[in-house]
């Protein structure tokens, strides 16, 4: 026997109580793991945006259109290296409740502005040469088991076809990856010329122009110059860095980070009180035994360490179970959620952060019971005074 076994034995003396405490801790860390992974994925595009990339949208609202010829005009602004444009298609495949992150783009310039996108040269050529071609991010291709050469009907919640056909027929020409921004691997790209040709409205209009500046140092000046060029026009513009645009976009959905923090903090506070109170009860029940240990020669500091070890072990086991469960849940969710959701992973920082929180939780819940046990007077604990 050793001190570690003594700690384990003490934890196992009331199995139901220990199991319930473990479940409570597990739930807290499951919430933490899931929400922190969600949070991380949610803000990933904000963090991964290139510093020299700008986004120009309609000044009123990014859902309002801009004329497609703005792209050519923006290209003439000093400091602009490349310009592309895109329109939100509102597409879905088979299930309207599972939207695709699908954009109509001008392919050649799009790949200039997003040079990190990787696909085999013959697939790139096929996408550039076939108007009904689709380029599909690997995550989405995997999700729907699509492969190059597949013919897929896509529906749109927004755009109907001039020929009254319900489905937009596409040929999957390319499957791409993006080592710089794995969230991009969940999007689907169609060609804007096909969109312009077939859509009943929205011809020659775009949602946004995206541009690269010759250097990141010029982004402010270029943004001002672009907006100045279209000032007092029918379609005034708002140009921001891609990071700022992403930030503003995510802010529309609410302060996700704050919500996540509040939910996790609430769960942790509840667990702190539940587990702390239960540990306190557990130690109180063992008052006499603690007194006996002290009569045998166990030091106060040893008693303190034992109680802290119990609460730490409990918190760590609960956290590992919760984080393990969250890892599975996050993986399952990432397969079923489009957009940033497909980018959800149980990352090392989230996992290690969870273990860090577990240590803090263990110390916090064990601190008062351990201190109480340490200060316990032997004669009192044995009921001999």
């Amino acid at each position: 026997m050793n001190q570690a076994l003594l700690v384990a034995k003490n934890l196992s003396r009331r199995k139901l109580r220990t199991a319930l405490m473990l479940v409570a801790i597990l739930i807290a860390f499951f919430l933490y793991g899931g929400l922190a992974s969600f949070n991380r994925a949610f803000y990933a595009s904000e963090n991964s945006a290139a510093a020299d990339r700008l986004v120009t949208v309609n000044r009123i609202n990014f859902t309002m259109p801009l004329p497609v010829n703005y792209a050519a005009q923006i290209a003439q602004v000093a400091g602009v290296k490349a310009v592309t444009y895109q329109s939100w298609f509102g597409g879905y495949y088979q299930d309207p409740r599972a939207p695709l992150f699908m954009f109509a783009v001008e392919p050649a310039s799009y790949f200039e502005v997003y040079p990190a996108i990787r696909m085999p040269p013959e697939q790139r050529r096929a996408f550039l040469s076939n108007r009904t071609a689709l380029a599909v991010g690997k995550t989405t291709a995997d999700k729907y088991h699509w492969k190059v050469g597949d013919h897929v009907p896509i529906f749109s919640n927004i755009y109907s076809r001039k020929d009254d056909a319900k489905a937009w027929d596409f040929d999957i020409a390319a499957i791409f990856t993006d080592p710089d921004d794995s969230a991009r691997e969940s999007i689907v790209l169609m060609r804007h010329d096909y969109f312009d040709e077939m859509a009943t409205f929205g011809r020659d209009q775009i949602n946004m122009a995206i541009l690269l500046t010759d250097t990141a140092a010029h982004v402010d000046a270029v943004a001002k110059a672009v907006d100045a060029r279209f000032a007092n026009s029918e379609f005034e513009t708002q140009t921001d860095t891609a990071a700022a645009f992403n930030r503003a976009f995510t802010a529309q959905l609410g302060n996700i980070a704050l919500i996540v923090t509040l939910v996790v903090a609430t769960a942790f506070a509840a667990i702190l009180m539940i587990v702390g109170n239960t540990m306190m009860m557990a130690v109180r029940e063992r008052t006499r035994e603690i007194g006996v240990l002290k009569t045998l020669g166990f030091r106060n500091s040893t008693i303190l360490q034992q109680i802290l070890a119990e609460s730490l072990l409990l918190a760590l086991v609960g956290a590992l179970l919760g984080l393990g469960l969250a890892t599975g849940a996050v993986q399952a969710a990432s397969r079923n959620i489009a957009g940033f959701g497909s980018n959800m992973r149980m990352s090392a920082p989230v996992f290690l952060g969870g273990l860090g929180w577990a240590v803090l939780l263990g110390l916090a819940t064990g601190a008062i019971p351990a201190w109480t046990a340490m200060r316990l007077q032997i004669a009192r604990s044995l009921g001999r005074r």
């Binding site: 026997m1 003594l6 006996v292 009569t295 500091s301 001999r384 005074r385």
Partner: protein, 231 residues
């Protein structure tokens, strides 16, 4: 030639504050307990028997006076020093055994050895010896709930002697046992005193205990009123 002294109490005073009242338990108590003694301390409830045992075991502190063990003062030791001193020199036996319910008999007996530098093998050997001494070798793997009161008390004795302390302090060791079992337990204590030269102090209400001890001290209101010795 007299035996070397285990315990010496010199002018010991012990007072408790209870609410607004100060209760005096001892007021200038003197006591010598020679090494190898087997002494019963008897007296009515509230006479100070348990407090005396607590003071001897260093689990309570004197208000004034001195307690010496092997001619060294123990009343001035810090809590950590007292812990180490108890681990090395004193074994405790309680009325209600006070075994850890989650540990087997062998693990309970091994507890004091966790504080020593002994390796696993040596600890196991000591545990086996202690259990053999109290006649419980075959119960090593049993939990307290699987044993009778007498067996549990014998495990408690094994736990008290496993680290080979010089002194055993027993608080009503037979208080929860029937006569036959009580006599068995007292027989073991007598054996430990005679064969292993343990100094044993027993606090008890049970007059039968005196059949096994070398002498008896009668305590009343913090004062020894009678001392009887067996020749």
């Amino acid at each position: 030639m007299t035996d070397p002294l285990s315990f010496q109490l010199r002018h010991v005073t012990k007072r408790f504050v209870k609410g607004k009242e100060t209760i005096s338990i001892f007021d200038g108590l003197d006591l010598d307990i020679p090494a190898g003694d087997f002494v019963a301390i008897m007296g009515p409830s509230g006479s100070g028997k348990t407090t005396l045992l607590n003071l001897l075991g260093g689990i309570d502190h004197v208000t004034s006076g001195e307690i010496l063990f092997d001619a060294r003062r123990v009343d001035t030791l810090t809590e950590n020093q007292l812990s180490a001193w108890r681990a090395a020199n004193v074994g405790f036996i309680f009325q209600f055994y006070n075994l850890m319910p989650v540990l087997t008999a062998a693990q309970n007996v091994e507890l004091p050895l966790l504080l020593t530098n002994l390796g696993r093998k040596a600890r196991r050997a000591n545990v086996a010896t202690a259990l053999e001494l109290v006649g419980l070798s075959d119960r090593a793997g049993h939990y307290p709930r699987e044993m009778s009161g007498g067996q549990q008390q014998r495990v408690a004795i094994a736990r008290a002697i496993v680290s080979d302390p010089q002194v055993l302090l027993c608080d009503e060791p037979t208080g929860d046992l029937d006569r036959t079992t009580a006599d068995e337990v007292l027989g073991i204590l007598q054996l430990l005193n005679r064969e292993h030269k343990k100094t044993i102090v027993v606090v008890t209400h049970d007059p039968e205990v005196t059949r096994f001890t070398k002498r008896t001290l009668h305590l009343n209101k913090g004062v020894f009123v009678e001392r009887t010795s067996l020749s």
